[in-house]
């Protein structure tokens, strides 16, 4: 919760670094603490075990300086990454204004990333956050190691909604400040109450308003029409609702990943080990930048594939009739996507189950 103190002319915001154990959350804070000017930082407090593993949280206050007469201050927190510290993680999330999800890019760590992200969503739901409005940035850390997943893989797994993401090597400081700048800006934009709308989004909104003013898109044709590359913008209200409708229509609330996909020896195509030789490209998908066509293509293709598989509302039925196997493997960890978590409360239309039951009876 942003705290505005008129007496001291201060605005306090809380940013939490979340992610699996040993993904580099504390390293991020340590680097920030090392590099920012002394007048801008407070003491870095680490509540850690004897082995330097975060026990409760790390805390670093950062003073940005005065803007419009108000002193802008950030409280940077990390959470303990280990699974069994969930209770403390939940406590640290209390009153959060912005989140950085620090993912470990190593292929073997992918199940942990997924589990941690799912855990984040569950904990936020516990606090009844409006997930649609809570700023979130992804940081794909440890890009210098070998056998790391490609950014595309990480994006499609953790961030299909296309929120800003950064590649990083936190221990060398690469990508740390880019991530922090982005989340700081998002949080303060949010605090200011400013609607972050990109030019392309405005165009799409105008198109939608013109074409379908009275009613939201009902048919697949409408949904297809609404799907444009401009949907990469951050939390676009109209497009997000369309996406949600689409996800709901597909009957797919969950994205599933089989752990063996990530831990297995043959890497999936697209992953390039030895990424350390390549220069890091920190390309946040911010609201003002147009989305890269390749990224969006991947996202669109993924969605189109699902649509073509007939996951309209009776996906299960079609799969049984000889369609491609469901993407969810047995015993695989599931991940609730950011957008699908938002519309978790939505229920399938009344009579859906009755209709399916009758349909099955008729077929027999």
């Amino acid at each position: 919760m942003v705290s505005i103190n008129y007496a001291f002319k201060e605005i306090w915001c809380k940013i939490v670094f979340y992610g699996p154990g040993l993904s580099g959350k504390t390293t991020n804070l340590q680097y920030v603490h090392q590099k920012i000017p002394p007048q801008a930082k407070g003491e870095l407090i680490s509540l850690a075990t004897d082995q330097d593993r975060t026990l409760f949280f790390d805390f670093l206050p950062v003073d940005i300086g005065k803007i419009n007469g108000f002193s802008i201050k950030f409280q940077l927190y990390t959470v303990p990454g280990q699974v069994y510290y969930n209770a403390t993680r939940r406590l640290v999330l209390r009153g959060v204004d912005g989140l950085v999800f620090v993912a470990d890019s190593q292929r073997t760590k992918m199940p942990e990333n997924i589990e941690s992200y799912q855990d984040l969503l569950e904990n936020l739901e516990g606090y009844e956050y409006d997930l649609e409005k809570l700023p979130l940035v992804f940081q794909y850390n440890k890009r210098d190691l070998s056998d790391v997943c490609s950014v595309e893989e990480l994006e499609s797994t953790l961030n299909p909604q296309g929120l800003p993401h950064f590649e990083a090597v936190a221990i060398q400081g690469r990508g740390v400040f880019d991530t922090l700048k982005c989340i700081s800006k998002l949080v303060l934009d949010q605090a200011k109450g400013k609607q972050v709308v990109s030019e392309s989004e405005v165009l799409v909104k105008e198109m939608i308003v013109d074409k379908s003013k009275p009613a939201p898109p009902q048919s697949m044709a409408d949904l297809e029409e609404a799907k444009t590359p401009a949907s990469a913008s951050l939390f676009p209200e109209t497009l997000e609702s369309l996406k949600e409708k689409e996800v709901d229509a597909m009957g797919q609330g969950k994205l599933s990943i089989a752990p063996e996909e990530w831990s297995g020896s043959p890497p999936p195509s697209g992953c390039q080990p030895g990424h350390s030789e390549e220069p890091l490209s920190s390309q946040p998908k911010t609201e003002t930048e147009p989305s890269t066509p390749e990224k969006r293509e991947g996202f669109e293709t993924q969605k189109e594939e699902k649509l073509s598989e007939g996951f309209i509302y009776d996906g299960e039925e079609k799969r049984q009739e000889g369609g491609p196997p469901p993407p969810q493997a047995k015993g695989s960890p599931t991940i609730i996507s950011w957008s699908s978590a938002r519309q978790k409360k939505e229920i399938k239309p009344k009579g859906f189950f009755l209709w399916r039951f009758l349909n099955r009876l008729i077929k027999r």
């Binding site: 919760m1 942003v2 705290s3 505005i4 103190n5 008129y6 007496a7 001291f8 002319k9 605005i11 306090w12 809380k14 920030v32 590099k35 920012i36 801008a40 407070g42 003491e43 407090i45 509540l47 409760f56 949280f57 805390f59 206050p61 940005i64 300086g65 005065k66 803007i67 419009n68 007469g69 108000f70 802008i72 201050k73 409280q75 927190y77 209770a87 403390t88 406590l91 640290v92 209390r94 009153g95 959060v96 204004d97 606090y127 009844e128 956050y129 409006d130 409005k133 809570l134 400081g173 400040f177 922090l180 700048k181 700081s184 800006k185 303060l188 934009d189 949010q190 605090a191 200011k192």
Partner: protein, 175 residues
């Protein structure tokens, strides 16, 4: 919850400081801090110059939150009072209203009983002030004008830069 704001105005701070001043005087405590449950310092009074009140606020909030969780595990809704005893200085922490925590730091010049007595009385008063502050509908904005984003970006570039910190641009400072 995440999109709520906690706004504290001068009048409330004035009233809160008057109350805290009474507490510090009557109980002979060293200082008192009012912290919200998210770890933000609302105000402090007394000998706080040597203290890192920002870090203290965050740690107190964390400590209180973890104690609440412990209480839940043993079947209590909340432990409303915490006491940390040191060799010279001690801290008494209690709830003030639904969202705030009152911490009183004192030494052997006074007693726990006295601090506890006044802290309890004061916390009820503080709760009333904070509750009325929350209810008030204010028209004041946060006075963030259109050049806020430009100023912010410039500030962020200055602070979060890899090399030496750049000199601040006076044109972006309004206060």
């Amino acid at each position: 919850m995440g999109q709520e704001y906690q706004v504290i105005y001068e009048e409330e701070i004035g009233e809160i400081e008057r109350i805290l001043n009474r507490l510090v005087k009557n109980s002979h405590a060293k200082c008192a801090l009012l912290v919200d449950k998210d770890g933000h310092l609302i105000t402090r009074l007394g000998f706080t110059q040597s203290l890192d009140t920002t870090a203290l606020a965050a740690l107190l909030a964390g400590s209180f939150a973890s104690t609440k969780e412990i209480a839940r595990l043993v079947g209590e809704p909340e432990f409303s009072v915490l006491f940390h005893q040191g060799k010279k200085d001690h801290i008494h922490v209690c709830l003030a209203g639904e969202r705030s925590i009152l911490a009183v730091i004192f030494d052997d010049r006074t007693t726990l009983g006295l601090v506890r007595l006044y802290a309890k009385e004061i916390s009820e008063e503080l709760a009333t002030v904070l509750a009325s502050a929350t209810k008030k509908k204010r028209d004041k904005g946060t006075q963030m004008d259109s050049d806020f984003s430009a100023s912010l970006e410039s500030k962020l570039d200055d602070i979060f830069s890899e090399g030496e910190p750049k000199p601040t641009k006076p044109s972006n400072l309004n206060g």
